[in-house]
């Protein structure tokens, strides 16, 4: 008998949607010429479609077992923050694309979505700024979202880690507004004895070897640990990494890129049991054309 979890959190990141939901011919030419601009690649339509299928399969399984599910996206929904890309990405996350072949392509779900550095590239372009602001910043940061289930509650805290200078931003480095961090730490600290699970979501990881990092990340990690954060979810580096809890940092799970073209694709599924969080990395196997689960 397989024991059902209390709740499931599906963690996706770095979808990098381009301006069209379908693949575009020129992309393949770029791939063939092995351009170094890999970060600029858009999504693969067929991997995005496979991702939607696998997530729908998981949603159907959990629904059958009466397990509530939430989906979290930790940033870089778009390739370059263009309004068309945002429309393609937002439709995929919150609704679905009608294609005329097969089913609709999308998650059709309520998704907690925070911005990545690519999503706000147009923050300084007057004609495009309003759309980015409308999608990501209608609510002030930090975001707070409660997810209740039978026997408990998770509070998600969404941070905007893209608050650096324009030059830092172009280098893909991040920064968190000190006031945002203070607010999150105070909120977690005041609730630490309630048994609630607090998960902090941000785009830039708080550890790892990438040069594209968050400013003062050790301080951020320590403050969140001292406040009593349970887990930290991030993305950005396009590679799944796990950092176990320590005195300096809560358990930290970084999701890979779920559907960007030209890179390995994966996403995480976290099943919450009474005494532990069981994590599974779903990695896209190109030979089998399927996201295959592997326990972490």
């Amino acid at each position: 008998v397989i024991e059902s979890p209390l709740a499931t959190v599906i963690h996706i990141s770095d979808l990098h949607f381009g301006p069209s939901i379908y693949n575009q011919l020129s992309i393949f030419k770029k791939l063939v010429s092995q351009t170094p601009l890999q970060g600029r690649f858009p999504h693969s339509f067929e991997v995005a479609r496979a991702l939607a299928i696998e997530i729908r399969r998981i949603l159907a399984d959990r629904e059958k077992r009466g397990v509530p599910v939430i989906i979290v996206h930790t940033g870089d929904l778009t390739r370059a923050g263009e309004p068309e890309e945002l429309l393609v990405g937002a439709t995929f996350l919150h609704s679905a694309h009608l294609t005329g072949a097969g089913g609709r392509v999308g998650l059709d779900s309520s998704v907690l979505d925070i911005p990545g550095n690519h999503d706000i590239w147009q923050r300084y372009t007057p004609s495009k700024k309003a759309i980015v602001e409308d999608y990501y910043f209608r609510q002030p940061y930090p975001l707070e979202f409660e997810f209740s289930f039978h026997g408990g509650k998770i509070v998600f805290h969404g941070l905007d880690s893209n608050r650096g200078s324009k030059s830092a931003h172009w280098k893909a480095n991040g920064e968190i507004d000190p006031e945002q961090l203070d607010t999150v730490c105070a909120n977690i600290h005041s609730d630490r004895s309630s048994g609630t699970i607090h998960i902090v979501c941000l785009h830039h990881p708080l550890a790892g070897t990438s040069d594209q990092r968050l400013n003062r990340r050790e301080v951020v990690a320590l403050r969140l640990s001292e406040a009593g954060a349970s887990f930290i979810f991030a993305g950005h580096v396009h590679e799944h990494v796990t950092f176990p809890a320590s005195a300096e940092m809560p358990s930290h799970l970084v999701a890979g890129s779920a559907c960007q073209m030209g890179t390995d694709n994966s996403f995480l599924v976290h099943d919450l049991f009474p005494t532990q969080l069981e994590c599974t990395n779903y990695r896209h196997d190109r030979d089998r054309w399927k996201f295959l689960p592997r326990s972490i």
Partner: protein, 167 residues
Amino acid sequence: MLIPTDKNAEEPGYSYTGDKMGSAATRLTTMIGTEVGARDFSARMASAPALSGLNTTPDQLLEVLGGIVNLYDEKSLELGLDEFDVETEHGFVSKYVSLPSILSEIGYASGYKERACAQILTALESTLRSYINPKMPNFALNLKFLGIIRPINLENSTYQLHYRSAR
């Protein structure tokens, strides 16, 4: 379970399912040909004569193959079946995944327009056929990305596909 190539098999390079210690007759009724993954299939497909002049890449054709797999996976979800048998023609066209759907999906995956999509469909079929050994009775090809496919009538390009969601 797939067992590696056996010295008693009729032709080198092929394996079979069943009990290795069983009788030769039992083994021959369940012949399985080469197992092939989507990357190898698309790499072979890139050199298909039908694609001459298109300048396609294996990556592009891998996306096309992935698109067809996605259509079958969606059907499996819709039917609530992890496995099913279906007759196909032109390689992968069936009552579950229609010709217009496949042609559209080839376009979405490759970025090409209609005429080129028909060429790609032809290349898909000829590549599939290139893996089939018509001399071997009960030959079946294990497509790691879709399931097991057996020719019914190669002249009419009809096949029997045993689709599997768990791959």
